[in-house]
Amino acid sequence: MSKVLKVAFPLGIVIVFPLVMHAMDQQFYISFATRILIYAMAAASLNLVLGYGGMVSFGHAAFFGAGAYIVGILAFEGVTSLWISWPMAIAVAALAALVIGAISLRTRGVYFIMITLAFAQMMYYVFVSLKAYGGDDGLSLSSRSTGLGVSLSNDFAWYYLVLVLLGIVLFLLHRLLHSRFGRVIEAIRENETRATAVGYPVYRYKLLCFVISGAIAGLAGALIANQTSYVGPALLHWVQSGTLMIMVILGGVGRFWGGPVGAGVLLALEELFSGSALLGSYSLHWQLPVGIILLAVVMFAPQGIAGAFAKKPQ
């Protein structure tokens, strides 16, 4: 298949999808697809720092959730314009990533994993403690963000906006990874000692990578807050971090499409195995097949699904 077709075909499907769903009178799945797009962005951001940067961050949900909460809190206080709340979500998430990264990146290996986990749990409990903003019960948004002239509660508008944003993010990531920055980051991941010996300011590169990844996660968070019109501390819980990691591993660690593919596969599996069509009532039984598939991928196909289809060994 030619390279153009390989890109055009999936792109075509993704663009036409809402129209097809509408024609089939299955509008619910437009919302579901948007959800996948948002998690694709979050997983792609984790892939940047985990797959390309080699930093196993077990606290990525902190940035995702922080971005969501900024939008939620601002909406609660009456600020609903996305021109204010979304950039703020990105900024706050990036700041959190800067602080957490600055401290965590001074540690190594398993300690790095644990310290990122610790920071994410800290942030989780900070948001739980904010009783004014819902605490454990979370916060409902009365409507999606405003400011674009089009009502974002329209499923179509919302889908295409998210799609455009995802496209921009992926494009920027592509440019980043194929730039000098990207090559240095990969060199650092391959052999950090060598990179330091050659003279790269390794710590600064890693921190920058961490911050960019956090910022993108913050944007994804802002979008998820709008998607569900709800924010709750569970968005920052370590299980959420684990879910994002699962998406990346399923899709392919260090593969460009690893994040989006993994998000799509995981959410589709969840939907398939929890829908009432299969089991008569909605249930959580998706955990078993997902767990088995995850285990199989980890043990036998560590390159993930995108990796299995890749031509180049990497």
Partner: protein, 306 residues
């Protein structure tokens, strides 16, 4: 703050800390000797509690069911290690995290399929359902006192096992330098399986003892698992002594947050906020402590590694 309140909260904190120690002990050994992050440790705790609840119902006796549940869970742990987990020792930490996370998902679902969605009933043994009068006149739940006694006894036994027996020596050798231990001819595979099974039994003990106080439900492992990780980080990966001190410390901070802080906050904030702030603040403090240890003294308070 009355003396009675302080005494009761201290006993509560001791009870919680000792149970946390049981979980942390197994986890720290596995992490220290096999260098494996085992997220499924919480699932063994859950399985232990479920087996205990079923066995207690089947045999009608708490004390008969308890050793059976420990053995059964140890067997489950050993099987898990042999079939799956031992392949993870050589892999990187990310793989271990993801694989054991998958085990959590599978275990939760299997338990749900076998035992259903509702939580199981597990009652304290007859004779320990009421209060006991402590010297000084205060009443305290006799079952909680039993937990403290059992926890302390097991801690002592573990200490003796690790310091005074040959197996304990092998364990400590493995924890401080695995390659050397192998080079010296230790049958490392069997040692690993035994350590893992022991950890599983300890989990089961914690699950069985806490079952009457908490609830035997799917997902009960996830909450306590993360605290166990905090404990072993603070105490020092691979160190039983560290797990003990770390567990008591975490138990203390947690109880302080649930008990003393809300009282202090009640003077400043409305009741709903005060009740929420206390536990949240102590949880935040626990993770700040964990991050601080990781940053300044990553080997923990009692480093095991030579």
């Amino acid at each position: 703050m009355t003396g009675i309140l302080l005494l009761e909260q201290s006993l509560n904190s001791l009870q919680f800390g000792l149970m946390l120690f049981l979980l942390a002990a197994g986890l720290t050994l596995v992490f220290g000797i096999m260098d494996m992050i085992n997220l499924a440790h919480g699932s063994l705790y859950m399985i232990g509690a479920y087996l205990m609840a079923s066995l207690a119902q089947a045999t009608g006796s708490f004390w008969v069911a308890l050793p059976l549940a420990l053995v059964a869970t140890a067997i489950v742990g050993a099987l898990l290690e042999i079939s799956l987990l031992r392949r993870l020792y050589e892999r990187d930490h990310l793989t271990q995290v993801l694989a054991t996370f998958a085990v959590i998902l599978i275990a939760n679902e299997v338990v749900r399929l076998i035992w259903g969605n509702q939580s199981l009933m597990l009652n304290a043994p007859a004779g320990l359902t009421g209060p006991v009068t402590l010297p000084g006149g205060m009443q305290y739940a006799s079952y909680r006192l039993a937990i403290i006694v059992v926890g302390a006894a097991v801690a002592l036994c573990l200490y003796l096992l690790v310091t005074k027996t040959k197996m304990g020596m092998l364990v400590r050798a493995g924890a401080s330098n695995r390659e050397m231990a192998v080079a010296m001819g230790v049958n490392i595979r069997r040692l690993f399986t035994v350590v893992f099974a022991l950890g599983a039994a300890l989990c089961a003990l914690a699950g069985a003892m806490l079952g009457p106080i908490l609830a035997v439900q799917v997902g009960m492992g996830e909450n306590i698992l993360i605290l166990a990780f905090v404990v072993i980080v603070i105490g020092g990966i691979g160190s039983i002594r560290g797990a003990f001190v770390g567990a008591l410390l975490v138990g203390l901070v947690d109880t302080m947050g649930r008990a003393l802080l809300p009282i202090a906050f009640a003077k400043m904030f409305p009741p709903q906020v005060a009740s929420n702030l206390g536990p949240s603040l102590s949880s935040i403090l626990i993770y700040v402590l964990m991050a601080a240890v990781l940053f300044f003294r990553p080997q923990g308070l009692f480093p095991a590694r030579g």
